[in-house]
C-alpha cells in the first residue's frame, strides 16, 4: 500500500512538473499574528484592485474562518498564473481564553473567541488536503522554530507539495530573516513587509516560479 501510494504521489508530481500547472490553489499558513491576512489583503489589492480577505488586529486569532478568493491572475517573470488563495486561521497547539482578556476583551468575548479559534485551527488543518501548495508566513522578528512551522513544513514535505516561506515583518527593527533561512535551508524563502509592501514584487516572482 505504501509503495502504491508513494508511486502515485511521485507520478502526480512528475505530471505536474511536465505539464506545468498554470492554476493553483494556494493556502496562507502560519502561526497567529504572522501577518497572513495583511499579506492576503495586499495580494488581493495588487491583483484585483478591490476587496479584502479580512480585518487586521493585534489580538491573536482575528481570522477564525478560512476565506477563499478565486481566480486572481498574477503576472511575473514573464508568465501568468491563476491563483485561488485561501487565507487560513492561525495554527496553534493551545488556546487559552485568558490570553484574549489580556487584550481587553471581556470574559464572555474571550471565551467565544477561544471557541471559534479552536474551530479555525481545525479548519486550517482540513484545508491542507485540498491545496496545491502553501505560503508559510513567518514573523521575521520571532523564533522560527515553532512547532506550527515544523509541523506545516513536515506535512508539505510528506505530501510533496511546493512550499514558499514568506519572512514577513521585515519593517521591524529586530527582523532576522537569516534565522529563518538557517532553520529551514531546504526551502525557498522571500523576505517582505506585507504591511509596507516592500519587496513584494520578489514574492510574486517567487510565486510564479514555485507554483506556476
Amino acid at each position: 500500500m505504501g509503495f502504491i501510494s508513494s508511486f502515485r504521489e511521485n507520478l502526480g508530481a512528475w505530471i505536474n512538473k511536465i505539464f506545468k500547472k498554470k492554476r493553483a490553489k494556494i493556502g496562507l499558513y502560519g502561526p497567529p499574528n504572522a501577518g497572513k491576512t495583511t499579506l492576503a489583503n495586499r495580494i488581493l489589492k495588487d491583483w484585483s484592485g478591490e476587496g479584502t480577505f479580512g480585518t487586521i488586529s493585534p489580538i491573536p486569532h482575528e481570522t477564525r474562518r478560512a476565506i477563499r478568493k478565486e481566480g486572481l491572475i498574477i503576472n511575473a517573470n514573464g508568465s501568468t498564473i491563476e491563483l485561488d488563495i485561501v487565507d487560513t486561521p492561525g495554527m496553534a497547539t493551545k488556546i487559552d481564553f485568558k490570553e484574549f482578556m489580556a487584550f481587553g476583551l471581556s470574559e464572555a468575548e474571550s471565551k467565544k473567541r477561544a471557541k471559534e479559534a479552536t474551530e479555525g485551527v481545525i479548519e486550517a488543518i482540513k484545508w491542507l488536503d485540498d491545496l496545491d501548495g502553501i505560503l508559510l508566513v513567518m514573523d521575521s522578528s520571532e523564533d522560527p522554530y515553532t512547532q506550527v512551522n515544523v509541523t506545516v513544513i513536515g506535512n508539505m514535505e510528506a505530501r510533496k507539495l511546493p512550499l514558499l516561506i514568506v519572512a514577513n515583518k521585515m519593517d521591524l527593527p529586530n527582523a532576522s530573516p537569516s534565522r529563518i533561512k538557517a532553520a529551514f535551508p531546504q526551502h525557498a524563502m522571500v523576505q517582505i513587509s506585507a504591511l509596507e509592501g516592500s519587496n513584494i514584487d520578489n514574492l510574486y516572482q517567487a510565486i510564479a516560479t514555485n507554483f506556476g
Binding site: S6, K94, I95, D96, A114, T118, Q147, A158
Partner: protein, 122 residues
Amino acid sequence: MILMREVHMDLISEEKLENMTSMEKIRLILDKVKNGKIVVLESGLTPDEEVRLIEMTMTEIRVDEFSGIEIESYPSKKGGSFLDKIFGKTLKGRMTVIGPANQIHTIEKDKYQISTKVSVGD
C-alpha cells in the same frame, strides 16, 4: 524548608510506538497530557500524526480544564535506506516532547536541542 513537587514523565520507546496505530498514539498522548503528565516519544510522530494530534487537541480544549498542549519536535529527517524510499517512508519522526500547555514552556529550540521549563502546580 524546600517543598518537593513531582513531575510525572513518560518516556515512550520507539518499539512501543511502532506497534500502535496513529489513533492509538494520539489517544495515548492526549490522555496522559490531560492528566498532567509530560510525554517524551523516542521516535516522535509522522507529520500527518502531528496535525491529527493538534486537530484532536482543539476538539478537547475546555475552559478552565484543558487549554491545549505544548509540543516540540525537531524538523523531520529524511529516511535514508533504499527500503524506506521504496515503501514511501521518506520522512522519519524525531524525538518529541509533549505536555500540558499550562505546565511546559519552551525556552529555546534549535536544530539540535530543545530546552523546556516545566512548572509544577499546587
